[in-house]
Amino acid sequence: MAPTRRVTNLALLVSIGLVLSIIESTFPPLLPVPGAKLGLANIATVIALYVFGTGMALEVTVIRCILGGLLRGSVIGLFLSLSAGLTSTLVMILLFVLADRFISVIGVSVVGAAVHNAAQLAAAYLLIRNTALFYYLPYLMIIAVPTGLFVGFASRRVALSLEGLSLA
């Protein structure tokens, strides 16, 4: 891929992720549990992974988390979203590379949601140092299934349309 194309695609994906997370921040919380979100921004990462490859997915996540944190002006938020985003993207990449024959984009997305939620809880624990936080873990695992499925199906729909275009 020509460098200019690559930078353009990367910028587009980062923007999509940022806009999705801003749209999502206007929604009311799904559950009265911190971290229980739809995770729309993950759509950009999943599309990057399946249409452009592993490197692009990692770059999209890192840049999106840093820019998102700066836009919201919250250092805690940046720490939480970057640590969770990075962990879940790395696990999704691992599954994509190792188990692509057995697991489709839907399963990878569900794993991404579950790992994201668990990692965010672990990161929050590092900040607040209260084991009572893990009381939320069951709720965060359950909510990861529908949110992960939603993100997976949405990403698949978009990726199907992008596949015909010679973007890469």
């Binding site: 891929m1 919380p29 009265p32 549990v33 911190p34 399946y50 249409v51 452009f52 490859g53 490197g55 805690i76 188990a99 024959r101 057995f102 697991i103 489709s104 984009v105 839907i106 399963g107 569900v110 794993v111 579950a114 929050a124 900040l127 607040i128 140092r129 209260n130 084991t131 009572a132 936080l133 893990f134 009381y135 873990l137 069951p138 695992m141 359950i142 990861a144 299934v145 992960g148 499925l149 698949r156 990726a159 199907l160 596949e163 890469a168």
Partner: protein, 137 residues
């Protein structure tokens, strides 16, 4: 980069079901773990922490008279109410008000947590035996 010659099928695969099952199993497993960790006794004392440091402790008697307290958190003040041996967050400077949505809490070992404001109300002690007998304010 994705190999261009490899045509992706995008179809759901058996592994997807396995993954959903595994995540649900993790949910059930963590429920069991959490419920064992906190046996569910009613607590007698609410300890309020801001950014990990204790700022206040309030005894939770059976008195039906509502008492409200305010602490300064990271983003602003958090107000909580103690009544009938239970505690709840009533006002908070945070954005999502998840802490308020958690409602009344009376179980020892559980907490009301407001992450944005870094306020934690931890319930401890045991009303039946042991734990804290009484706390003077």
């Amino acid at each position: 980069m994705v190999a261009k010659n490899k045509k992706r099928t995008w179809k759901l695969r058996a592994g997807d079901l396995v993954i959903v099952a595994l995540v649900l199993a993790a949910a059930i497993g963590s429920t069991i773990l959490v419920s064992q960790a906190h046996a569910g006794e009613k607590g007698s004392l609410a300890i309020v922490e801001v950014n990990g440091h204790e700022v206040r402790r309030v005894s939770m008697g059976d008195s039906q008279a509502a008492r409200t307290f305010t602490v300064e958190g990271w983003q602003g003040s958090s107000t909580f109410e103690v009544k009938g041996g239970r505690v709840r967050m009533t006002k908070s400077a945070c954005r999502d008000k998840i802490c308020i949505g958690m409602g009344w809490m009376d179980t020892s070992g559980r907490s009301i947590i407001c992450l944005p404001n870094r306020v934690v109300i931890r319930i401890t002690g045991n009303r039946k035996s042991g734990g804290v007998d009484t706390v003077t304010e």
